[in-house]
């Protein structure tokens, strides 16, 4: 006779309905997606299409990285373009000063871009993470603008508004985009693996605890400051890599495109649309939204029409999918399972389930 049986707790609870699809489904979907992403440029080698693919990879890396910090810890940063910019300038400056030729060699600088961004993020994070919520959000934006201003003003290093020009690789035709695409995909896979690992580690559990109740987590022995700072640096690392890929791809670096406020918000919107704090959310968000956004860009080459279309798209998405695709779909799917389990139970034992109805709302995937 164990305590479970004597205690009248959740005695009538039904069979547990899982919050996520079965493992086989999840792993199968991941593998399928990976195959699709690998095959995509081979099937559609048109450079207009593959360049959309490259931008998608850049944002995918950034979104996964951003989610590691903001999604897991609950601290929303709208200033990660700071690291996008640092990544870009790192690659550009090294390339120019070391007189590196364009081409494969530049991809070797990606880890450097990541490390420099992560290092820069430590003092910045130390300053930022002393505040919370709105103040934190706004400070992240402010820091981003400060860096942008520095990029404009430190003309000796950055050439100010004149920008820096990168050497172009000698690749031509349909092949030009391929190396960028596949390296981007590789980086995205690495980022995804890191996000997955952190998600299921003890450390990651601490981050989620911080998201739910930081003071409580601290009272259970979690080193909250250190945890947040590590997550912040990890996300800066991946966003820096995204920047390091962007610079050689477009061939130039300008302060307003390196430290770009629209990048900040775009990444946040991607992740919110996909499902913040989930593993698949940033992936879905980036794979759906960036091609759409790039399509708009190509359709309305005229900057102002593009801005209007983009803004309206954002508003519609925020309105229609406020909780994100992944949580929305999983909770709907789970609600069906719960209803079915309940119906089955009602046949045998008409009792309360002990679970509130909104159970599915918080499903994670």
């Amino acid at each position: 006779m164990t305590a479970t049986e004597i205690a009248p707790v959740g005695a009538a609870s039904p069979q547990h309905v899982p919050y996520r699809p079965p493992r086989a489904v999840r792993y199968g979907a991941t593998a399928g997606l990976l195959v699709l992403l690998i095959a995509f440029p081979l099937v559609l080698p048109n450079p207009t299409v593959t360049s959309i693919g490259v931008f998608t990879m850049i944002y995918l890396i950034a979104a996964i990285g951003w989610n590691i910090f903001s999604g897991y810890s609950g601290y929303i940063s709208i200033g990660h373009a700071a690291y996008y910019g640092i990544g870009q300038y790192t690659v550009a400056l090294i390339t120019i000063h070391a007189h590196l030729p364009g081409g494969w060699g530049l991809f070797g600088l990606l880890p450097v871009a990541g490390v420099v961004s992560a290092l820069a993020s430590i003092p910045i994070g130390f300053l930022l993470l002393r505040v919370r919520r709105h103040t934190f959000i706004v400070l992240t934006i402010a820091i981003m603008f400060i860096l942008q201003l520095l990029a404009f003003n430190l003309t000796r290093f950055t050439n100010g508004s004149g920008g820096l020009t990168m050497p172009f690789p000698t690749w031509t035709g349909n092949f030009f985009n391929m190396p960028f695409y596949y390296v981007g995909l590789l980086a995205a896979v690495v980022a995804g693996a890191a996000a997955w690992w952190i998600r299921r580690s003890k450390y990651g559990l601490g981050l989620f605890a911080i998201r739910d109740d930081e003071e409580r987590a601290r009272g259970l022995g979690i080193k909250v400051t250190r945890s947040k700072l590590i997550a912040y640096a990890a996300s800066a690392f991946f966003v820096g890599i995204a920047g390091g890929l962007y610079a050689p791809f477009v061939g130039s670096v300008y302060p307003q495109f390196a430290f770009d406020p629209t990048f900040d918000l775009a990444v946040a919107v991607l992740v919110f649309v996909g499902g913040i704090g989930t593993l698949s959310g940033p992936v879905l968000g980036a794979l759906v939204l960036i091609p759409l956004q790039q399509y708009f860009y190509l359709q309305f080459g005229n900057a102002n029409l593009y801005l209007i279309a983009y803004g309206v798209l954002f508003i519609l998405i925020l309105r229609l999918l406020p909780g994100g695709i992944v949580p929305g779909v999983t909770s709907a799917w789970r609600a069906r399972l719960v209803a079915r389990a309940r119906a089955r139970q009602e046949d045998t034992r008409p009792e309360d389930t002990g679970l509130k109805d909104d159970a599915g709302q918080k499903g994670r995937a």
Partner: protein, 290 residues
């Protein structure tokens, strides 16, 4: 003497920055909404004054009688159509929404006015009053006076009227305010209206003293956010003090060192202040429970 001149310039210019920042901080204080569109709304106000002046020859100050109510309406409409429907993660969702709204406005302004820089050049833009060796540009004097009038009106509204009392109650505890029958939605819509009109008033001066286009909004929003953080988010007096401090620092640095470093110096001061007081000069709490 140059430094004294710089300080005076800073204070005078700080006046109309205070208007724009007050709008931002007020909206935040009441609704916890970071109005990321405030920059482009300032530019919208500037374009309205510009259009009235260049097409209908209405003096920009006089034109405020048209632009302020118009912009008030814009704010109210944005509240009801964009902010009100947000159900969850209000803080971040409203920020993202306001950003999206700002993007649309930016696109529309760019479409109508193109990206050629313009300026509202009234007859008094380049005239000034001289006292001793100190120069007081007329436009700054007028705009400072206007800022004083509008901000006094705002203080009167907040601290001397029933509406103001309800608004402050809503700022401190929205749930309790709702329970005693205060209509939060009406107050919020009204507040966003006021915030946006203040942006327009500031924008009128901005458009008369700078040449601008739609993209000027990014520089504006970054300055306004910095001012509001420096003063303490949600604090009106903080925003006023911070505006003047920012512009004085900028102008003095420009004189004694170089104009390019003025704004950067202010940001460095901001970081130093935040190291000591993360909540800003007049911020209410250091750390809010999540």
């Amino acid at each position: 003497m140059l430094i004294l001149q710089a300080i005076i310039d800073g204070i005078l210019i700080g006046g109309f920055y205070a208007l724009m920042a007050a709008g931002l901080t007020l909206v935040f204080g009441v609704m916890e909404i970071v109005n990321f569109a405030q920059g482009i709304l300032v530019v919208l106000g500037a374009y309205l004054s510009y259009a009235l002046y260049s097409h209908l020859h209405i003096d920009p100050f006089l034109g405020l009688l048209i632009t302020l109510p118009a912009m008030f309406l814009v704010g109210v409409v944005i509240y009801w159509t964009m902010i009100k429907p947000i159900r969850r993660d209000r803080v971040i969702m409203s920020l993202l929404t306001m950003f999206a709204v700002g993007t649309v406005i930016e696109g529309i302004l760019d479409l109508i006015f193109t990206s050629n820089l313009v300026q509202t050049t009234t007859s008094y833009v380049n005239s000034s009053v001289q006292i001793g060796s100190l120069i007081f540009p007329e436009i700054y004097l007028y705009s400072f006076a206007m800022a004083v009038v509008l901000l006094s009106a705002l203080y009167w509204l907040l601290y001397r009227t029933k509406f103001g009392r309800n608004l402050r109650a809503a700022m401190q505890n929205p749930t309790a305010a709702r329970m005693v029958g205060i209509d939060i939605d009406r107050i919020s819509a009204f507040t966003l209206g006021i915030g946006v009109s203040l942006a327009a008033a500031g924008g009128m001066v901005f458009g008369s003293t700078n040449s601008f286009d739609a993209a000027s909004s990014y520089d504006l929003i970054s300055r306004l956010l910095a001012i509001v953080i420096f003063g303490g988010f949600g604090s009106l007096s903080g925003a006023l003090v911070a505006s003047i401090v920012m512009l004085v620092i900028e102008d003095v640095v420009a004189v004694v060192w170089s104009p390019t470093w003025g704004q950067t110096t202010f940001y460095l001061v901001l970081i130093l202040v935040l190291l000591v007081r993360p909540q800003g000069l007049f911020g209410r709490t250091a750390v809010r429970a999540q």
